[in-house]
């Protein structure tokens, strides 16, 4: 279940339930109605819809509980809300009350892609901001060349470790290790240090190359991948240093080898 899969008003209900439980209260129909500022009779159909989607457990005259799925989606919505508010307040210096209201709108209507780029941008400014005008030129170029996943390609940038916290939370940075067996991805960049990076380059592990995850070894490490029509094994730590383009981005034709000439 992703953001935008259910209607805006249902998302609001879910958010309210989440917040009530999060604050240590019990989520009863009465409380939900009070928060949303509507009558109790209009809450019930919404709750039924949410229950039908498998996001909450709800029967008449009982407390509302979130399912695992519901909790996950609600947390994402709340997170998103907080991020937008934080972005507006700390970076744009928007007064908090306005930011709060705007965040409520943003959280439902902004496309996931725009939102993702906003996160990347925020992190870049937050961590790489020392020389913003020069760095911004690099930012724009890197956003283009890495499929908007990695604005700062310098290997010793703070952004890589700090940024990964935010980005991992939002599923922004996808490493080779995250591919499931049989799944394919396109390489965005290699973060490994000197000798290993050179070795990977020599084996043809380069930006824009298509790579397929085959399997993990019986003990879980190393893993086997396929690229350029041959099979290669890597340890997990090496696989983690290979960044994959996020799946939803369509990118230009690869510069070098799409591989698999002979299957």
């Amino acid at each position: 279940m992703r953001i935008g899969m259910i209607s805006e008003s249902l998302e609001d209900y879910l958010e309210i339930i989440y917040n009530l439980i999060d604050e240590g209260n019990i989520a009863r129909v009465k409380d939900i109605a009070a928060r949303k500022n509507v009558s109790m009779s209009s809450v019930t159909p919404a709750l039924r819809r949410l229950a039908k989607e498998g996001l909450i457990k709800y029967t008449l005259r009982s407390d509302v509980e979130l399912t695992g799925e519901g909790k996950k989606l609600a947390a994402r919505i709340v997170d998103r809300h907080e991020f937008v508010k934080h972005f507006l307040v700390s970076l744009m210096k928007v007064p908090e009350a306005i930011a709060e209201r705007d965040a409520c709108i943003f959280e439902h209507y902004m496309s996931p892609e725009t939102f993702r780029r906003l996160v990347v941008f925020f992190e870049f400014v937050d961590t790489c901001g020392m020389d913003i005008r020069d760095r911004f030129e690099q930012y724009r170029r890197n956003m283009e060349s890495t499929g908007a996943s990695d604005p700062c390609t310098s290997p010793d940038c703070r952004n890589t470790e700090m940024g990964s916290r935010h980005r991992r939370r939002w599923g922004q940075v996808k490493t080779l290790l995250m591919l499931k067996p049989g799944e394919k991805g396109r390489i965005a960049r290699i973060q490994a240090p000197g000798a290993i990076r050179q070795r990977l380059i020599d084996m043809g592990v380069l930006p824009n190359v298509e790579i397929e995850m085959k399997r993990a070894a019986p003990l879980g490490d190393p893993i086997e991948i396929k690229l350029r029509g041959y099979h290669l094994s890597l340890r997990k730590e090496e696989a983690e240093s290979i960044i994959i383009f996020p799946a939803q981005i369509e990118i230009r034709e690869p510069d070098s080898g799409s591989g698999e000439y002979y299957g």
């Binding site: 290993i196 043809g204 399997r215 003990l219 190393p222 029509g229 041959y230 099979h231 340890r235 299957g263």
Partner: protein, 689 residues
């Protein structure tokens, strides 16, 4: 008249490209195997004739690139630069053209006189892909020959082409870097004009500088006027990084692969429409699967060991009886008590006893290596490394270290030879150093003599098991220790190709076996022979004075150099609870560990003391009366850890490429053994009393 001169030809190519099969097809049996000076990398040389012409063919180690990160690459590069072979044959796996071309491009950049052997054409035909071979040659500017190495196809053609290439001399094939990268390369090459000559073409050197290649950078750094070059390098690296958003080495790799993939597209005439699942993928989905991966792996190892020891036991017995008959024949023919009695003793006890004792293992070693070469040639060895790497990586080793360690339970000598499959120098040396800690077959007679002598029935199996476990645990500790001190360095990245499964050619397996047998024979005939004679002399001289008209074995041993030395080092032995008799026996056991049992027999005036005969029982009784169970345990511990046998030392010396490592191994393990045994003995004495 230059045709009369020997042309030197080097073979270069990726691992698994069939380079060795081309080498064998070219040189046949005229091969010489050695090491590159100072490193563990194997150097194969051979002679090949074509008409009137004689080539000296050198098989370079299999490499993927021309960086200076791995020993193989450094060795190959040094050879190409320093020995300047007239022609370089680049063996290319036709079924994996794109990746193989990456190296080809670098060989061309190095300005070498290249002939491409497009190998495994039969396999390519099976896939349904058709390549325009002439077009490859035209685009690269070097001749291309189709070959099938394992079936000798295209070899005559290859010889002719090499000959022509030699006569014609260098072509001027150039790889051009376009755009900003090319501009920066030109800036760097321009600055090199004023500097001393280096053995690389300038463009290659410039590209390598941008790739941060330590060897090329070092060459320039040593020059006095290279300051502006390095300033420019920093500027270029920075400029390229800001322009492209990637470090230059990524850009360069991308350009080379871009060229390779473009070329492949251009020369591919037809390709199959469907991306079919290959046989290799089907096999791998079973062989490396979570459930069946381990059982199949254990089964295959078990099969090889079963083959080695069950099938090998017959020829082993033949050799054993053969040597015995030979010894007896000499004894019966020789006039006893004559003035030449010492010579008889030298031949029977020294040479036949020593060399024969080592040659007895030849059938086992041959079968074992047949098994290993089968695993290697089919491609399964890489899967074993894949399966075992997680465990081996924990102690700083590589998945490939596993096979040698297993073989070490049989005999350390072939185990050390088997470390050749480990590519990283540091990992390979570490593996060699810990191999003697695997309880080999020759330790077993020692354990079997001591354990029943001192321990009650229900303790015997656990004690035996604990000896093996102590060895394994110690090996793990030592490996970890060595990798963090002496062989410190970045762990070898496990970026390993899993080559397609292939049916090994019988001819290749046989050649491989013959090669190993010959190496083993040569060792037995030279160094092992010499050391055997030396050990014999230490035990036989000076001759003890006669008592009652004859000399008993015991008296002779005590009187000999070895016996005196045993007495001399007694102060060192005492802390471990040993007396001179145990010490002297250990000196004899240096020739072969199992000799310890025989030596103890001699020391206690027992002829033919074998643990299975009645005499052995008596020896055990004497041992029980003379020593405490604690001393018995200490003997086993010391036999396990200390003083690797002579054959181990010699093979380590040869394989590590320097006697330093053999001496280090011997001293390190003996010191460890001494410390450990002393600690056990002293602590146990305090706590037991």
């Amino acid at each position: 008249m230059s045709q009369r001169k020997t042309i030197s030809v080097a073979l270069a190519g990726n691992p698994n490209s069939g380079k060795t099969s081309i080498f064998n097809a070219l040189t046949g049996a005229h091969q010489h195997v050695g090491n590159y000076p100072g490193v563990t990398v194997e150097k194969k040389e051979g002679v090949c004739r074509f008409g009137e012409q004689e080539y000296r063919v050198v098989d370079l180690p299999g490499i993927y690139s021309m960086t200076s990160y791995s020993v193989e690459e450094v060795v190959a590069r040094r050879f190409l630069v320093e020995e300047k072979p007239s022609v370089v044959i680049n063996v290319v796996d036709a079924t994996n053209l794109e990746r193989n071309l990456y190296l080809t491009i670098q060989l061309l950049e190095m300005g070498l006189n290249l002939v491409m052997a497009l190998n495994m054409m039969d396999e390519l035909d099976k896939t349904g892909v058709v390549l325009d071979v002439d077009m490859i040659g035209r685009r690269l500017g070097c001749p291309v020959v189709r070959t099938v190495g394992i079936r000798n196809e295209g070899i005559e053609d290859l010889k002719q082409t090499v000959f022509d290439a030699h006569v014609r001399g260098q072509t001027d094939a150039v790889i051009i870097y376009r755009d900003e990268l090319g501009t920066e390369v030109k800036k760097l090459t321009a600055l090199m004009e004023h500097l001393d000559a280096i053995p690389y073409p300038k463009q290659f050197a410039a590209v390598k500088m941008l790739e941060k290649d330590t060897e090329v950078l070092g060459r320039f750094r040593r020059m006095s006027a290279s300051e502006p070059l390095f300033t420019q390098l920093n500027r270029s690296v920075q400029r390229l990084e800001t322009l492209y958003g990637y470090p230059p080495e990524v850009m360069i790799g991308d350009r080379r692969y871009g060229f390779a993939s473009g070329l492949v597209k251009e020369v591919t005439v037809t390709r199959p429409m469907i991306d079919r699942i290959t046989l290799t993928e089907k096999i791998d989905s079973v062989v490396t699967s979570r459930i069946l991966g381990f059982p199949l792996f254990l089964l295959s190892i078990y099969l090889i060991f079963w083959l080695t020891f069950s099938l090998g036991s017959w020829p082993m017995q033949w050799i054993e009886t053969g040597f015995e008959k030979l010894a007896r024949a000499i004894e019966s023919q020789w006039p006893a008590g004559g003035s030449m009695e010492w010579l008889q003793s030298l031949i029977v006890d020294g040479i036949i006893g020593g060399v024969g004792g080592v040659l007895v293992f030849l059938p086992n070693i041959l079968l074992l290596f047949m098994g290993i070469s089968f695993l290697e040639d089919t491609g399964y060895m890489s899967r074993i490394a894949f399966i075992m790497d997680k465990i081996m990586h924990k102690i700083g080793l590589h998945g490939r270290s596993f096979i040698p360690l297993i073989i070490g339970f049989g005999c350390t000598v072939p185990a050390i030879l088997a470390t050749r499959t480990i590519r990283s120098e540091k990992t390979r040396l570490t593996t060699m150093m810990i191999l003697p800690l695997m309880s080999c077959g020759a330790r077993l007679p020692i354990y079997l003599m001591i354990i029943p002598a001192f321990y009650p029935q229900h303790w015997q199996a656990p004690v035996l098991w604990s000896m093996y476990m102590i060895g394994v645990l110690l090996a793990m500790v030592v490996a970890k220790l060595l990798r963090e001190t002496l062989f410190k360095g970045e762990a070898e990245p496990f970026v390993m190709e899993l080559p397609p499964y292939r049916m090994p050619a019988l001819r290749m397996v046989m050649m491989h076996m013959w090669e190993k047998a010959w190496q083993y024979f040569k060792k037995a005939g030279t160094i092992i022979l010499g050391v055997s004679i030396l050990v014999w002399a230490l035990l036989s001289y000076p001759v003890a004075p006669e008592r009652n008209g004859s000399v008993s074995g015991r008296d002779q041993l005590e009187y000999s150099f070895a016996g005196r030395f045993g007495h001399f080092i007694e102060p060192v032995l005492n802390p471990m609870g040993f007396d001179w008799r145990i010490g002297t026996s250990f000196i004899g056991a240096f020739a072969a560990k199992e000799l310890f049992v025989a030596q103890m027999g001699v020391v206690f005036s027992l002829e033919e003391a074998r643990e299975d005969s009645a005499g052995g029982e008596t020896l055990r009784d004497i041992l029980r009366k003379t020593y405490s169970p604690l001393v018995g345990f200490c003997i086993m511990l010391f036999a396990l850890v200390a003083t690797p046998c002579m054959a181990t030392l010699i093979v380590t010396w040869k394989e590590a490429g320097s006697i330093r490592w053999a001496l280090f191994q011997w001293i390190f393990l003996t010191a460890t053994g001494w410390l450990l045994t002393t600690a056990v003995y002293q602590f146990a004495r305090i706590f037991l009393h």
